[in-house]
Each structure stands twice: as C-alpha cells, then as structure tokens.
C-alpha cells in the first residue's frame, strides 16, 4: 500500500514550487533580455562600462532572489560566494566579470526564463485540465450542445462526462510523476548553478579566515598594549611612589621621626594598592576562577562583582573548549563593565546556554542604550569572537535596552 501522506505533501510542495516558478521565470526572462540588450549596446562604448556594472548588479539581485526561492523549496540554505570587490569601478567590473559565479547566475536565469516558464505552464495547465475533468459531470449541463472538446474525445453527454472523470483519475499519477521530474530537474540545476563551486567556496572561506585572523592578531596586540599601559599607569607608578615615600622617610628619620613614620604608613598603603592592581591585572589576563572552577562559577563570581545588580541564567554545556570559555568570560566581563560605566541600568541579565554545538552568551541591561558597536571595547570583543568563527550582535537603540549577544561555535 502506497502511503498517501508523504505523496500528498510532495505534491503540495512541487505544485507550490511550480506556481512560484511562473512569475519567477517571467522576471528572469525580462532580466536576462534586459541585461543582454543593455550589455550588447553598452560594451562598445567607454561610457557604457559603468552601465555594465549596473547590469551585473541587476543579475546578482535576481540570483539572490532565486537563491532564496531555491532554499525555500529545498528547505536548506543555498550558500552564496562571490569574489571580493574593491577598488574603483573599473577594477570592480573586472572582478565581477571574471567571477565564474556571475556567469553561472546568468545561466540559471536563462534556463529559468525559458525551460522554467515552460515547466510552470505545463504543470499548471495539466492540473487545471485534470481538475476540470474530475468535476466534468457537475458542469456538463452548462455546456452548449456540442459539449466540450478535449481533442482526443468530445464529451457531449453525461455518460461521456463520467468517462472524462476516469481519464482525469488516470492522468493524476502521470501528471504527478511528470511534475516531480520537472521540479526535481529545475531544483537540482538551480542548486548546482547558484551554489559556489568547491573552489569558490574554499576561496571565500580563505578570505574570511584571513580577515578574522588579522582581527585576532590586532586584538592580541591591542590587549598587550592595554596590559602594558595598565602596568605603567597602575602598579609600576604605585611602586615608584612607594619607593619615593620610603626614600623620603629614610631622609627624615633623624630629624623628624613622626613625619617619617607617616611616610612609611603611606608607603604601606601604596604597596597594598599596587598589589590589588596587579591582582586585577592578572585576573584580566587569565581569570583564575575560570581555570580552577570552570565557566559557570567564574561567570557567577563575575556577576556578583558587578556594580549593577546582575542575575545569571546559566546552562553551560559540559564540553566547552578553553578558547570558547575564556572568550565567553570576556564578553560577559566587558559587557558588564560597559553597562556599569555607560548604561545607567538598574538590572543586568547574563544568560549562557548551549544550542546544538554552539554556545550562546547574552548580556541584557535595562539602561539607556546608545552603545556604539564600533566603539573600542566592542570592536576588540568582536575581533575576539570572530577569531573563533563566532558572531557578536549588539542591539542598543537610543533609549535602551542594550543586548549583547555572542554566538560561539564549540568545535574543538
């Protein structure tokens, strides 16, 4: 027994695809014709060259639309990878024209504008005819005397109308299979033509990795600079002041013991502050809680230290790699520090959870908003996150609230 439910679902999605193909193919046909016409006229003229760039932009726009439609029909994403365009328009034109994907896009649009159109028209006519046949007895009475002509036969009596129903029933599986083939063929071809080749995908990935790697190097250098400055302005300066106090105390002991004692007391305070600053600095480099107790307790401790009351909602998966843990910790640390400094918020919520093989870190406050995603701290954070192939999203409309969300892949 053939199971009907999957077949019905299949029929539905195929029909929906064919329905969407009708307008899509008309659009693609128009775009291709317009592109070819404009390109043919423009290519010969120097002033026509910028126009070519516009033609390619139009093709890309349509190809993106098609990628979205194919992804919808296949229920899986269709990746996109073009070569990087930069420099003046002439350079850009050369890159775009030399990108095989541009021509694959054009090929698909041409196929869609012709065969796609035929396929959609065939499918719709087929089902329209079958639907008409199935209900023929119901509207047979309205026909003029000579009945309805289906080419192979004429139905001019109710009996013959019921034969039409039989023919319609027999045609359903045939039409289903034909539609299946057309849909499958179009989808396979569109996926093949619209997805980047293996080479192009790798090329795009290399570009992305080079950019994030440079970002990681920048982030590391900025971090070193910050540590050096913190040391110079903090502990080092305190130690110099401490030494100065002790030196002055030494000079004074003979003539003014009380004043000297006071200076020694100040020196001791200075030493304590230097120690505190060194401890904070060490914590900023590699939080000891993280190494000793893991991400959950380290984040709880971080939230407990926050000047703004912070609540935590933690569901940390067991096997988070070290690099992800420390980045998550920095995201929360920086976000809490920013909230305390700028937001004027009354509450902060830190939530961390695993979604499939990703760690999602979110810090939301109820403050005034207006955080700039390109500000120094957030840029550093973004580079850190991107170095792990993650993404950092900052939402901070004026008037608030601010939400900082990091999405970190946990592949070790």
């Amino acid at each position: 027994m053939v199971r009907m439910r999957p077949i019905l679902r299949r029929f539905g999605s195929d029909l929906a695809y064919q329905l969407s193909t009708l307008p899509a193919s008309i659009l693609a046909f128009a775009v291709v014709v317009a592109a070819v016409t404009v390109a043919a006229t423009a290519a010969g003229l120097i002033i026509g060259l910028p126009l070519l760039l516009a033609v390619f932009a139009l093709l890309r726009w349509n190809a993106r639309l098609e990628r979205a439609r194919t992804a919808w029909a296949l229920r899986e994403p269709v990746p996109e990878a073009y070569r990087r365009r930069d420099g003046n328009w002439l350079r850009r034109l050369r890159v775009v024209a030399g990108d095989p994907q541009s021509w694959k896009d054009l090929a698909w649009l041409a196929v869609l504008g012709t065969f796609g159109f035929v396929s959609a028209v065939v499918a719709l006519t087929m089902w329209g005819t079958i639907a008409g046949l199935l209900v023929l007895p119901a509207w047979n009475w309205s026909l003029p005397n000579d009945g309805v002509d289906f080419g192979i036969f004429r139905a001019d009596s109710l009996g013959e109308a019921f034969i039409g129903v039989d023919i319609g029933l027999v045609a359903i599986p045939l039409a289903y299979v034909l539609q299946r083939w057309m849909t499958e063929g179009l989808l396979r071809l569109s996926k093949a033509l619209l997805s980047p080749s293996r080479e192009a995908a790798l090329e795009a990935r290399v570009g992305e990795l080079a950019a994030t790697r440079a970002g990681a190097v920048d982030a590391a250098a900025a971090e070193l600079q910050r540590i050096e400055r913190d040391l110079h302005d903090g502990a080092q300066a305190r130690l110099v002041a401490l030494a100065m106090d002790l030196g002055m105390a030494e000079e004074r002991f003979a003539r003014d013991p009380e004043g000297a004692r006071e200076l020694v007391g100040e020196a001791r305070e200075e030493a304590k502050r230097a120690l505190a600053e060194l401890r904070d600095l060490a914590r900023g480099i590699r939080p000891s809680m993280l190494a000793e107790r893991g991400l959950g307790p380290a984040l709880t401790a971080l939230a407990a230290r926050s000047p703004i009351p912070a609540s935590v909602d933690l569901d940390v998966p067991a096997d988070v790699p070290d690099s992800v843990e420390i980045t998550a910790w920095f995201v929360v640390s920086e976000a809490l520090a920013n909230a305390a400094k700028h937001s004027g918020a009354a509450r902060v919520l830190v939530s961390v959870g695993g979604v499939e093989d990703r760690l999602i870190v979110e810090v939301a406050d109820d403050g005034a908003g207006g955080a700039r995603p390109d500000g120094g701290g957030l840029t550093g954070l973004r580079k850190r996150v991107e170095a792990l192939d993650g993404t950092l999203a900052v939402s901070s409309p004026a008037g608030g609230p601010t939400t900082i969300r990091a999405d970190l892949p946990c592949v070790s």
Binding site: R229, H232, D233, Q236, A237, R238, V240, A241, A243, M244, D245, L246, G247, M248, E250, E251
Partner: protein
C-alpha cells in the same frame, strides 16, 4: 632653585612635588601636558625641569619632544628626563646638542632621594646625569677593535661613573679610592680613547657622552 615638573600621572606628580619641596626646591609649576609644559617654561624660566618621557596625547615620546623644543626656545635650559625604561635613542637625542644641563634617569632612581636630588642639582648647574643602566648599555664594546675593549675593569668603573656625570670627587667617593687615583685613571682612559683632555668636569662628561654616541 625653581623647578617645573611635567608628569601626567597625578600620583607621581604629587610625589615629585612633595619630594622636591621637601629637599629645598621651589616648584614653580607642575603640569601634565607637553603644551602646558612649554608655556610654563617660557613663563617661569625655571632653573631646572623634570619631565616624564611619556606624556599625552600618545604616551610615546612626547616628553622628549617637549624637552627638545624647550631647549630650542631657551638654549641651555636644564632638563632632567625621567623614564620607565632605558631607551638609547632618547639619550642620544638629548645629549646631541653637546651643551650639558641634561639628564636622563630611570624613574626608579627617585627612591634614592639624596642621589636623585644631587642629580637634579647637577643638571641645574649645567652638568649631566645619565642613568647607570643607560651608561652600561653604551659601554658594551662593539668588538675586539673597539678602544673600550682596551680598558681595564677598574678603568671601566671610572668610565661608567664619569659617563653618569659624576665629578672626580664623587667618583673617588663611590669607588673608595683617592681623587688623585681617579685623575690618573681618567687620564689613561682619555689616552686610550684618544679624547681631548680637559680639567672641566662638565666638558669632560660631554666628551665622554659624545664618544659613547659615535
């Protein structure tokens, strides 16, 4: 003696003010920005300036730039530079005009109050003060042919103290030898390095500094 201080960290600025007042200086101005320093120098015409190498806005070498500019405007203005690290090029730039009245010390030296104050006074009087660590870096012979390699260890000690800007008297005191022994060593050193002899302490130091810069 009137002094102008340029130091961006309030903690150290206050410490310097207290230390210098405590030891008999009059602090005419204490500023944190190089521009303010140049204004203060023109206004107060101090006997000596104490300047941090790292000043705003970029905290790289603004202090040295400001010091050189101040000495361009007021030739011979005595300036003592304080630095967290020994940076050879800074020392070279400061000593380049051969005028004296220049010092370059590590910040740590302020802890030895007596020594530090003596250095400030020496610079104020047109002498020099070069940090022992900077001198030690300069005194490394570049190869077996370097005349420095021909100095005995004792002569090296004398050379070191001389380059720091100390007088014969101070050198003798520091090495626990007689002043005449120092003079003898100095004479041998000048002979080995082929330097013009001079009885004047300051000119002698400049000759040594110039030699070390070559």
């Amino acid at each position: 003696m009137r002094v102008v201080i340029a130091e961006d960290l309030a903690l150290l600025r206050d410490g310097l003010i207290r230390l210098l007042r405590d030891t008999g200086f009059e602090v005419a101005a204490a500023v944190e920005h190089p521009d303010a320093f140049l204004e203060a120098v023109e206004e107060h015409r101090p006997d000596v300036c104490v300047v941090d190498v790292r000043l705003p806005p970029t905290f790289s070498d603004e202090g040295v730039r400001a010091a050189l500019e101040a000495r361009r405007r007021i030739p011979g203005l005595p300036i003592l530079i304080l630095s967290q690290y020994v940076e050879q090029t800074f020392a070279a730039e400061l000593f380049a005009d051969g005028r004296g009245g220049v010092g370059y010390l590590l910040k740590d030296r302020v802890a030895d109050v007596a020594d530090f104050v003596a250095s400030v006074k020496r610079v104020a009087e047109g002498g020099t003060a070069l940090d022992p660590e900077a001198v030690a870096q300069l005194l490394v012979p570049s190869g077996p042919d370097d005349p420095l390699a021909a100095l005995t260890p004792r002569e090296m000690d004398v050379m070191q103290l001389m380059a720091e800007g100390r007088t014969n008297h101070a050198i003798a005191h520091g090495l626990h030898i007689s002043e005449s022994a120092v003079e003898k060593h100095v004479s041998t050193i000048f002979g080995k390095l082929d330097l013009p002899r001079s009885g004047d302490d300051h000119r002698r130091v400049m000759a040594v500094a110039a030699y070390l810069r070559r």
